[in-house]
């Protein structure tokens, strides 16, 4: 099965609306890393009337906390973490223009609904495939919250990042569809 090539950040809404749960994709371009502590701090910034450390419009966030890079390497191992823990903060970010997320595992109903309303997409990557995925990361730049170490926000350039569309704009959930197909 061939993968659908996706360029990010997104430019047109049709690039998102054409995606269906279960599509295998290859993502190219620039994305941002953020996980638990960075999400908490971003939302605290917003509540305090401050701006986010980067322009989130049309962007994709990758839920990851990489291992330290070995000397000479661009990045350490960098697979997806469980997205569920970011659910509390996600609708706020989607309302501000975030268009895509890469992680692993279920999203709650609030996020699924917000993805639909805001015409966004949630991709699942293979958890535990961090050495392989790190080869798709070509450049890493510190953006904000450096004190959070592995949990800091970084801008990364990716080429041929493998993922699957889990939640699409129709409210479909690939994890649920897959279980229904194979449950005996």
């Amino acid at each position: 099965m061939s993968r659908i090539k996706i360029d990010v950040p997104f430019k047109n809404e049709s690039e998102i609306t054409s995606l269906n749960a279960g599509d295998q994709v290859s993502i190219w371009g620039t994305i941002y890393t953020a996980r638990d502590a960075a999400h908490k701090r971003m939302v605290e910034h917003l509540e305090a009337g401050k701006e986010l450390p980067f322009d989130i419009k049309n962007q994709v966030i990758y839920y990851v906390g990489p291992t330290p890079a070995k000397p000479g390497a661009v990045v350490g191992s960098a697979g997806p973490t469980t997205s569920t823990r970011m659910d509390k903060y996600t609708p706020t970010l989607l309302d501000l223009g975030l268009k895509g997320m890469i992680g692993k595992g279920y999203r709650n109903q609030d996020v699924v609904d917000s993805i639909k309303v805001n015409k966004a997409v949630y991709f699942g990557a293979v958890g535990g495939s961090a050495a392989l995925i790190s080869r798709a990361i070509k450049k890493v730049e510190m953006v904000a919250f450096e004190d959070l170490g592995t949990e800091a926000i970084r801008k990364i350039e990716i080429e041929d990042f493998p993922a699957v569309v889990i939640n699409d704009i129709e409210g479909n959930d690939w994890y649920k569809m897959a279980v229904e197909e194979y449950c005996k």
């Binding site: 697979g79 279920y106 958890g127 392989l132 194979y182």
Partner: protein, 280 residues
């Protein structure tokens, strides 16, 4: 009385931390390969093949197979005729973790306080269980336990009348709730009996057994087999992408319990099932 030196423990622990994270166990690799042959779903098969490729990259490049290099959990069998010299066993293990994680470019994933949540910056303290045993060996079992699968683990105090059916239902329900979050295909560790903390410990301890190895007690082995078949009918599949490989293995450990009690704990492990053993 045999003497084991502090520094030897430090060095042994440091290399176990790195090997556990770089080298997928042979038991797990065999389980991946068998599963990839038998998996009925296309995407499930793709995930398994990706995990095999990932393990090969990690091993050849000496990099962690997963970015979550885990909480370092130890089960230490301390022979009662073994004398540790040069410092405390707990300090030696933590120093080994500190060195292993720093020198091995492994991630620091421990926060000092569950409320304030400041990273300790060296992956300590580790979790150490010590069992006093006959003999003069010091046997150290190490596991790099990831957060994703640990978060989906559960414990319930069932009633004796719930019986085997209640136990099985609780295990299946736990795997179902975990879905893709716990990084299937899983190793499902089950502790039955004992009391509140013993059944949780047994579930954890069962995960240190090699994948693919059945219990040496016949009735427990049969139970492991039955639960494994039921789990693999759930359809979750590798990474929740659908399929017949939801668990690579199921491990069960039993302990005597109170006449009123039937505690059951399910400790899930992700597909990497990172565990190492050293004898000093």
């Amino acid at each position: 009385m045999k003497e084991v030196h502090y520094q030897d423990i430090v060095n042994s622990v440091a290399s176990m931390c790195q090997d556990a994270n770089y080298e997928l166990g042979e038991d797990v690799m065999n389980a991946f390969k068998n599963a990839a042959k038998q998996e009925v779903s296309f995407m499930g098969k793709e995930v398994l093949n990706q995990l095999i490729e990932n393990a090969n990259i990690a091993s050849s490049d000496r990099v962690p197979m997963c970015q979550d290099t885990g909480v370092s959990v130890f089960i230490v069998e301390l022979g009662q005729d073994c004398h540790i010299v040069g410092g405390s066993l707990y300090d030696a293990i933590n120093e080994g973790v500190r060195n292993g994680y720093e020198e091995g470019y492994l991630r620091y994933s421990i926060v000092d306080d569950p409320i304030h949540r400041k990273n300790t910056g060296d992956n300590t303290p580790s979790v150490v269980h010590i069992e006093l045993v006959p003999g003069d060996d010091l046997v150290i079992h190490m596991s790099a336990k990831g957060g994703g699968a640990e978060n989906m683990s559960r414990l319930q105090m069932l009633k004796p009348s719930d019986g085997l059916e209640g136990i099985k239902n609780f295990i299946l329900e736990t795997v179902q709730i975990a879905g893709p979050n716990a990084c299937p295909p899983l190793v499902v560790g089950v502790g039955i009996g004992g009391n509140f903390e013993i059944c949780a410990y047994l579930a954890k301890k069962s995960l240190f057994r090699p994948v693919g190895e059945r219990s040496d007690q016949q009735h427990v082995a049969k139970l492991e087999e039955e639960i494994m078949n039921d789990v693999n009918k759930l359809g979750i599949g590798p990474q929740g992408m659908g399929g017949s490989t939801t668990a690579l293995d199921v491990k069960v450990e039993l302990a005597p319990t109170h006449i009123a009690a039937l505690p059951v704990a399910v400790n899930l492990n992700c597909h990497a099932s990172r565990h190492k053993k050293a004898i000093l």
